[in-house]
């Protein structure tokens, strides 16, 4: 009873609310900040990430843009050149392809072309990933395009707290950040958590989700949660997996990766993007360059197959990573 009388506990937030609150926190903190995107104002965003922002900050700072991804990114660059941080929403990250040139050739290279005299503090964020029956154009996880484009930072959180803390850091970063939100996690109850308003997670810091000595499992985004389940299954087999959530791909927290691999000698990389030239390949290449002598087994990867993401469930699940596929691959690495 007396407990009930003490300060009320901070209520738990889901992944979507965490993002919304982080954006709102920055909009309040920095009156220069602007949000622009399709249907983000009057509607509040297709998924509601910007719900209420236009009513609170007005239509000038929360812009309902025409269906023009290239102009939206370009305009954000212009506002950024005038010193404004800009949050750009892609209704689905899949549509980023329509603003591609402005991102990889204009925003990404601004600092480089001007020898650091200009920079583009914009965050391009949007719902990404499969498992929802979205089909080829509402399920993409195309972060490798941007990880391969120098000058862009790339982020993908797997928990509400990380989503909040990384969004704060991204919105304060002077560089363009491509922010991948896992829409499948937007409203997942199981992962809701308390998030202090002052939570900040610097870009380039991975988190060790679970310590272990036998195998290092590296992942980010939605598959991270499969890896957690798999770690439990492996423990039952007497295999202690160390789980690393990269959280940001560019910059990459190499120390955390190498420290772990040098300890376990075994690596499995799991991500949702299609396989060829995906980020899993990059992690494996760097592990080879830095930890080769420590490897007791071939670093393997579990990824989406090299196909688009098909619509109907039996097909979609066939090409995407699953607990079974991750478990099987982990055993292969651990028992090699």
């Amino acid at each position: 009873m007396s407990v009930a009388l003490s300060a009320p506990p901070i209520e738990k937030k889901n992944y979507l609310t965490a993002l919304k609150d982080a954006i709102r926190f920055e909009m309040l903190r920095n009156p220069e900040m602007v949000c622009i995107g399709e249907d983000i104002g009057l509607l509040g965003g297709a998924f509601g990430v910007t719900e209420g922002l236009q009513e609170e900050f007005g239509p000038d700072r929360v812009i309902d843009a025409p269906i023009s991804e290239a102009a939206i990114v370009g305009a954000a660059i212009g506002m950024a050149l005038r010193g404004r941080p800009v949050m750009v929403e892609m209704q689905f990250i899949d549509f980023i392809s329509c603003g591609f040139d402005q991102i990889v050739n204009n925003a990404a290279t601004m600092a480089y072309r001007t020898a650091g005299k200009a920079s583009v503090p914009i965050v391009i964020r949007g719902p990404s990933g499969g498992y929802g029956g979205g089909g080829p154009y509402h399920s993409q996880q195309n972060e490798a395009w941007f990880a391969h484009s120098p000058g862009l930072k790339v982020v993908c959180p797997s928990t509400p707290r990380d989503a909040y803390g990384l969004m704060i850091s991204s919105l304060r970063d002077p560089n363009p950040v491509i922010f991948y939100e896992v829409k499948d996690l937007y409203r997942k109850r199981e992962i809701e958590e308390e998030i202090p308003d002052d939570t900040i997670i610097p870009l380039g810091s991975a988190s060790v989700v679970r310590p272990g000595s036998d195998i290092t499992i590296i992942s980010y985004g939605n598959p991270m949660h499969m890896c957690i389940k798999v770690a439990g299954m492996l423990a039952d087999d007497g295999i202690e997996a160390e789980l690393i959530d990269l959280r940001s791909l560019v910059p990459l927290d190499e120390d955390t990766i190498y420290r772990s691999v040098k300890k376990t000698g075994r690596v499995l990389v799991v991500n949702e993007a299609s396989r060829t030239c995906g980020f899993a390949a990059e992690v494996i290449a760097r592990v080879n360059e830095n930890c080769f002598q420590y490897l007791d087994a071939p670093p393997l990867r579990v990824t989406r197959a090299d196909t688009p993401v098909p619509w109907v469930q039996p097909l979609e699940l066939a090409v995407l990573p699953s607990v079974e596929k991750v478990y099987e691959a982990a055993l292969k690495v651990a028992r090699f």
């Binding site: 249907d39 009057l42 269906i67 154009y137 197959a305 090409v319």
Partner: protein, 404 residues
């Protein structure tokens, strides 16, 4: 400055500067009450295309309006009962655009519908031959298979809703990316031109999609090469949660045409015959090799952007605007016309009346049996049809066979 040509230019015909087409048709703001300009256009087109339609044609038009509406309400009900996966983008209240634009096409003409145009896939080339297996449109079984996500769908359910097509029957398979099929239509029309065919391609897009860069690139290309592409714009006043004036700076979307020196017509999207007239005027012009036209069909989105948006749409759109926008049901408008022109008796007109009714409150009794049975066949087929096998997911990333 008078232009002179190098031998090289002269040899290659295209370099002769073509005198730009001079826009003869002015556009009007409210198609519901035709203005001076509006009639001018109809005069311009010697006789109105509708004048050549037989009484039976008129009844067929009505039948197709019933079919499109029935398809929509049936799917809305199925979805609300949780029987369908995926989002449903209702074409409710916009059926006259689909029926009116497709009615006069030749079997070998091409089309490219978007999310709002699901009925177009079976309405293509259906005129007078609903059950003809030879017709160049999708069968109701195929379309229902797509909606239910079965292996019998045209793309074996690899993408959802309207993302299907069939090159054999002149339907461009489209992606989700808005306006993305207009350049594809240009390529198809370019092939027609090279082959000396007089076929046309009708592309469908919402008003919001005209803000896309590729819309401009494609219409510009079509205008330069006078390609037989008819750009149908379904202006239903809303692009998801964004009103038209935040997508288009001019009063009429048809004004976009002026930037390309091509005809920009406005049709009353609630009046199937006005849509038919404007479309056939543009189609006829395109068949003659005179190039593309843009037709703005003014209409109104009856429900949410997709069924997931119904509740929010009720909040971001004022009730009176919605009531106003739905006040001229295309079935009612056409029935009135048929009765007034003695093509339909008051009594027959009253027999089937889904018009103005909200989807859930309509029943099979509101539709002619031939329409109900036609769709029932498709639905039953789809429900019985199998799901694709998981292994299929790995096939056809590349075309099979080496093509040489």
């Amino acid at each position: 400055m008078e232009r002179v040509y190098s031998d090289r230019q002269r040899r290659s015909g295209v370099y002769e500067r073509q005198e730009p087409f001079r826009l003869k048709i002015k556009t009007v703001s409210t198609p519901s009450e035709p203005t001076e300009d509006h009639r001018q256009q109809e005069v311009a087109a010697a006789t109105r295309p509708r004048d050549a339609l037989t009484p039976e044609d008129h009844l067929e038009l009505l039948r197709q309006l019933y079919l499109a509406r029935y398809f929509d309400v049936r799917l809305i009900k199925e979805k609300r009962r949780g029987r369908l996966r995926g989002t449903l983008y209702s074409s409710h209240n916009q059926e006259a655009i689909l029926v009116g634009t497709l009615f006069g096409l030749k079997p070998d003409d091409w089309i490219s519908p978007i999310h709002r145009d699901m009925p177009a896939f079976f309405l293509k080339d259906i005129r007078g031959r609903w059950d003809n297996p030879e017709r160049k449109g999708m069968t109701i079984e195929e379309v229902c298979s797509q909606v239910w996500g079965k292996a019998t769908a045209p793309g074996r359910a690899r993408d959802n809703w309207s993302h299907i097509g069939d090159v054999k029957r002149g339907i461009i398979p489209s992606t989700s990316m808005l306006a993305g099929t207009i350049p594809v239509a240009c390529g198809v029309a370019y092939d027609f031109k090279m082959k000396g065919l007089d076929n046309v391609v009708l592309t469908y897009n919402g008003e919001g999609s005209t803000a896309q860069g590729v819309f401009h690139e494609a219409v510009n290309l079509a205008a330069i090469h006078k390609l037989a592409v008819i750009v149908i714009i379904e202006n239903n006043q809303w692009a998801y949660g964004t009103p038209v004036h935040l997508e288009v700076p001019t009063k009429d979307v048809a004004d976009r045409a002026k930037g390309y020196g091509i005809p920009g017509l406005i049709a009353d999207g609630q009046d199937v015959l006005d849509v038919y007239d404007k479309t056939m005027w543009a189609v006829d012009r395109a068949r003659k090799g005179l190039g593309p036209s843009l037709i703005e069909c003014k209409t109104f989105r009856a429900y949410g952007h997709g069924d997931h948006d119904d509740d929010r749409a009720a909040r971001y759109r004022p009730a009176d605007e919605v009531a106003d926008g739905r006040s001229r049901d295309p079935i009612a408008v056409f029935k009135r016309y048929l009765v007034e022109s003695k093509l339909l008796s008051e009594e027959d007109a009253a027999r089937y009346s889904p018009e103005g009714k909200d989807a859930p409150s309509t029943t099979d009794q509101d539709f002619p049996p031939e329409v109900v049975n036609y769709l029932k066949r498709g639905v039953e087929f789809a429900i019985k049809a199998p799901l694709p096998e998981p292994d299929e997911a790995f096939r056809w990333v590349f075309a099979e066979g080496d093509g040489s």
